[in-house]
Amino acid sequence: MISSNLLAVFYLISGVLFILALRGLSSPETSRRGNLFGIIGMAIAIGVTIISVGNFSTGFLYLLVLMLIGGSIGSLIAFKIPMTAMPELVAGFHSLVGLAAVFVAISAFLNPEVFNLGSPGNIKIASLIEMSLGAAIGAITFTGSIIAFLKLRGIMSGSPITFFGQHYLNLFLGLSLIGLIFYLCKTQVDTWFWIIIAISFLVGILLIIPIGGADMPVVISMLNSYSGWAAAGIGFTLENTALIITGALVGSSGAILSYIMCKGMNRSFFNVILGGWGVTDQKSSSSSSKEQKPVKNGNADDAAFLMKNASSVIIVPGYGMAVAQAQHALREMVDVLKKNGVKVSYAIHPVAGRMPGHMNVLLAEANVPYDEVFELEEINNDFASCDVAYVIGANDVTNPVAKSDPESPIYGMPILDVEKSKSVLFVKRSLSPGYAGIDNDLFYRDNTLMLFADAKKMTEEIIKNL
C-alpha cells in the first residue's frame, strides 16, 4: 500500500502543519490561515493512516459512518454553542481526548500484534510502560475534565470539596499507580492494567474536586496539558511521529497557559492544585461588620452623566459580564460614547473569566475591534489619566488590597489600577465579596459609585440615559 518510511514522512508533514497552526495564532490576521494548516494536517494524518492499513472491507464502511456521526455531532456543537459557554465546551472536549486515549491504549493492550508490540501476555516492556502511562493520563484527563465541566456548567457547586487526608490519599494513589505499572510490566497480567485505569479515573475526580470555581482557568489549562501528554504517551506506543509531536506541542502549550494563569494570580501551581483559597475565606468574610461601611449608590443616570462628560473611559470586564451576556449591550454603550467624542478602551486581566482569553472572545463576538482591547501591562499606566473606569462584573482583579495588605490571600496578585482613575463605576449585583471571598476596599471610596444591578440591564439603562 504505502511504505512505512513514506508514511512516517507524511506524519512528519502533519506535525509540521500543526506547529504552523499554533504559530499562526501569534496574531489575529494570520490565525485563520493557521487553523487551515491544522485542518490540512489532520486530513493528511487520517488519509495516509487509512491508506496504510489498506482495509477497505466492511470495517472501512463502519469507520466512515462513525466519523460521519462524530463529525456531525461535533459540527452541531461547534455552531450551536454560545461564546459564553466556551470554557465548558473546552473542558468537555478535553474529556473526549482523554477517553479516546484510554480506548486506544486498551485496544493496543488487547491486540498488540496490530501495532507490532508483541503478543498478548508478551508485550514489549517499553510499549507496556508507554501505553499504561498514556491510558493513566488519559483517564485522569477524562474524569478531571468531566468534573471541571460540571463545575463550569453549574451542575456541580463551584466551591471546593475537601476532606481530611485528601492530599495523602492522592499521594498514595499516585504512588500505587507507579507500583502497579511496574507490576504490570513484570507479570503482564491484564487485571493490573484494568486496575491502573480504574485508579486513574478516581485520581482525576479527586484532583479536581478541591479546586474552586475561580481557579478554573488554571484547571482548564492543566487538563489541556494532560490531554497532550496522554496523546504523546500513545504516540510512543504506536511509534507515530505525528502523535508525538502533537502531544508535545499540546502538553507544553497547556503548561505555559497554566503558568500564565498562576502568575496572574500570584500563586504557585501547587497552591492552586492543592486547593488553597476555600479554607482561608471563612475568616475574612465572616467579619460582617465591614459591610456596614457606607457606599455611594448610583443609578444609570449618574453613570451616563459621568461617562458622557469624561474624555477617556476604560472598561474592565469580568466573569459577571459573561454571566449576564452583557457584551453586546456594552459595545452599544461604547459606540454611543465614542460618538460623543469619548476615548474608550478595554482592559483585560489575565485571569478575568473562566479560561485564558475568555473576555477577549466575548468582546470579539460583540464586534469590539481587537486593537481596542489591551492586556494588563499595556494599559495599567493609563488608569491614572483616565476619567472613568467602568468595571463590569469584575472584582478581585481590581482589589487594591493585593498591593497594600500582606495578610490578604490575594496579596501580590497583579491588579488593574482602577483606583487611580478619577471615578470608578462598579456594576455589580450586590456588595458580596468576589470568589476569593475578600472585601474590596474600592467599594467604599469617595470616587466610587456602585451600580447595583444585572450587568446587562444596567448597561442598557445607561445607553437610554446617554
Binding site: 506524519y11 502533519s14 506535525g15 497552526a21 495564532l25 501569534s26 496574531s27 489575529p28 490565525s31 485563520r32 493557521g34 487553523n35 491544522g38 489532520m42 494524518a45 487520517i46 493512516t49 482495509n55 470495517g59 469507520l63 462513525l66 462524530g70 455531532i73 461535533g74 459540527s75 455552531f79 454553542i81 465546551l89 473546552v90 472536549f93 473526549l96 481526548v97 479516546a100 480506548f103 486506544v104 485496544s107 493496543a108 488487547l110 491486540n111 496490530v114 501495532f115 482548564i220 489541556n224 490531554s227 510512543f236 511509534e239 507515530n240 511521529t241 502523535l243 508525538i244 502531544g247 508535545a248 506541542l249 499540546v250 507544553s252 500564565i260 482569553g357 477577549n360 470579539a364 492586556e375
Partner: protein
Amino acid sequence: MEIDPFIFRLSIFILSIFIGYYVVWSVTPSLHTPLMSVTNAISSVIIVGAIIAALAGESGNVFDTANIFGYLAIILAAINIFGGFLVTQRMLAMYKKKKDKK
C-alpha cells in the same frame, strides 16, 4: 553500536516540547481561548491510533473487543476534530480590526 529507534522518538518529543514552548509564548494573549480549542482539535490526531485499532484486526472479525474500542475512540476523536476546528474557525472569524481603517 546501533541506536534504539526509541531514542530517535524521544529526541523528536523533547525537541517538539521546545518548539511548543517558543511557539506558544509567541501566541498573543487575546487568542488564548482559540489556542486551547485548536490544541484540543489537533490532539485528536490520536484518531490515527483508533483507525489502526479498528481496521487492522483480523478481517472478518469486525466486532472483536479491541476493534470495538477502536471504533468508540473514532467517534470521540471525530467529535473533537470537527468540533474543535470549527469552533476555532468561528471564534477567529470574530476578531476584527477597527472598521475605519479599511
